[in-house]
Subunit: 344 residues, 2 copies
DNA sequence: GTGAAAGCGCTAACAC
DNA sequence: GTGTTAGCGCTTTCAC
């Protein structure tokens, strides 16, 4: 049997197609009894409105696009990060009856502007969610902005204009983690920074410094070392730190992957965690629970952030939300087995 | 400026819209000079054909749907698995100028049939790629088949009908891994099975048995133990195996996550890998390189499988491919640090 | 509260 | 080679 159209439904229900349209769009001005008749016709014919026809006529596509760094292009975004972004966005989509189109892209590709334009102008999504660190890349954001499609950036390091965005309290919660380590008696707490282009991650360094100060400790630049968010850089940085004449007793990495690298080095060197070295990460990626010992980290609410971002685009009160400047979804400490009291 | 339409391009190029249509669809019967004129008009106006209009008129959407198990609903699919499926599908999409719509779903949800129908009938994708283990679930596959949309299943445990599918040589390559372990001198090689609903994974057990036989060893049922593909089940199974009066000297797990669980137990118990115990996995997930020691495993070509599947739907010679029954993309051993000679 | 007509931007079928 | 005409299946506008 061929797919039923709105005409079939109208005929069966004995009404005009406009009335059917009103019913499927939850519009007012339909008598309850009429609505019922239409609904039963829809059920009987197993009718599903055709998205393309709807889109063409109404300029609403019920489509959301999620763009993020192409994981094949760099090291940066771990698969867990992307999956959680997708999960949050999908949850919002389900709620708002939308579908999700994903588009990983390489911001260093000179054609990225054209690529995004083509994507957006041909699919005409209702909104675009831009994940970090892509949300900081001017060429990407501009390409999307120029299409006049509503968009929300997640964790943009800086809030360029007054566009709505969603972020977490990287700085505050990093300070909290640092204070926690200090409260365990650690005096020499090192910090491994993340990918330099990931602005939100840079705020974590600020938080680390805040936390030291708040705990009455001073910042020792020898203990701040530059990683690039990858496990491999965690390994390198850990080796450098542990080779210091006076090595740290705690290492706080700007993300879980680098913390995993630190733990690998400790395992190799036979350094007991947490007895001889405390290690903390940031993200609460799947890896955090997969490695041994389980990693103390900051639960970054990626799902919620993505969901919030998508709902700002397609949710019921999207207009108001988009006016509201910005939304912060706070992170939380996840204390596990990789941190403990400083050795006496 | 409002978006340019096909009419604008036609006007500017001084041709009919049909000619523009021919150019954007790479159809023949356009004089080279005409084509050039149209193309320059397109460039000048920054014209992008509207997907919805195209879809409505042509019944081709340039959309691919990828369905897979909702990771929030169970343990089974790790984020790496999904990401690699997405990557492969995306690669094919890029090549064929399509976009990708993702749809994780819970096959145990009673509404899943309706959910998939709605998704497919409203978005009218050119094809649907069904990832394992969802590719084995009759309700899911039937729901999709009933929409008459072309689909390809990835690693269906069994080939129900003569539908085209893509798989890997689970059995053969598992036998190969088993023979490799035997060649290292291991006599007591254990096997941890995966999620019982994942049919392709069951083939790995067969391969393990084949490999033992081929190496002149016999199958000891005491050494075959049931996991469920999760890290946690790897932990449980490892503890059981290592508590045997005569424990194995090598453990082959049906996937990397479970192998990671085995390694965790060994780390905790102070068992040296690979000196005292060899561990092998299957998948070559990101985890395999992230844990310590790096895991010997089977590289399952998930990306390639997904790409092959998607190209069968939207590639240039899709018709022929879809007729060709099935395609197997072979896996390969990845020898790393978790396996070594059996202790004397 | 309901319907008729126009048209969203494109492609299909056919004429020239 | 190229253009004309008629839709694809819906929403919009406006009339009733």
């Amino acid at each position: 049997m061929a797919k039923a159209t709105i005409d079939d439904v109208a005929k069966l229900a004995g009404v005009s197609i406009k009335t059917v349209s009103r019913v499927i769009n939850d519009e007012p001005n339909v008598r309850a009894s009429t609505r019922e008749r239409v609904e039963s016709a829809i059920a009987q014919l197993n009718y599903r409105p055709n998205l393309s026809a709807r889109n063409l006529a109404s300029h609403r596509s019920h489509l959301v696009v999620l763009v993020y760094d192409d994981p094949t292009a760099y090291v940066t975004p771990s698969s867990g990060y992307i999956i959680r972004m997708q999960e949050g966005t999908l949850k919002a989509c389900k709620q708002a009856n939308c579908d999700l189109l994903i588009h990983p892209c390489n911001y260093r590709n000179p054609d990225v502007k054209d690529e995004l334009r083509t994507l957006i102008e041909r699919s005409r999504p209702d909104g675009v969610v831009i994940a970090a660190p892509l949300s900081n890349m001017a060429n990407v954001v501009n390409a999307i902005a120029e299409t006049n499609t509503p968009y929300v950036r997640i964790s943009p390091g800086l809030s360029a204009n007054d566009q709505f965005f969603v972020a977490t309290n990287d700085r505050e919660v990093s300070a909290e983690m640092t204070r926690y380590l200090a409260s365990l008696g650690h005096k020499r707490i090192a910090f491994i920074t993340g990918h330099p282009e990931h602005r939100a991650v840079a705020n974590r360094l600020q938080g680390y410094k805040d936390g030291l100060t708040q705990s009455g400790l001073t910042v020792d630049e020898e203990l701040v070392i530059a990683g690039d968010s990858s496990i491999a850089s965690g390994v390198t940085c850990a080796e450098e730190l542990l080779d210091l004449s006076e090595p740290p007793t705690a290492i706080f990495a700007a993300n879980d992957d680098m913390a995993a690298g630190v733990i690998q080095v400790a395992n190799r060197r036979g350094i007991q965690i947490p007895e001889q070295l405390s290690v903390a990460g940031f993200d609460d990626s799947a890896l955090a629970r997969q490695i041994f010992p389980a990693l103390t980290t900051v639960r970054q609410p990626l799902n919620e952030m993505a969901e919030t971002a998508a709902l700002a685009l397609i949710g019921d009160n999207s207009e108001e939300v988009l006016q509201s400047g910005a939304l912060t979804v706070p992170g939380k400490l996840q204390l596990r087995d990789s941190t403990g009291p400083a050795r006496a």
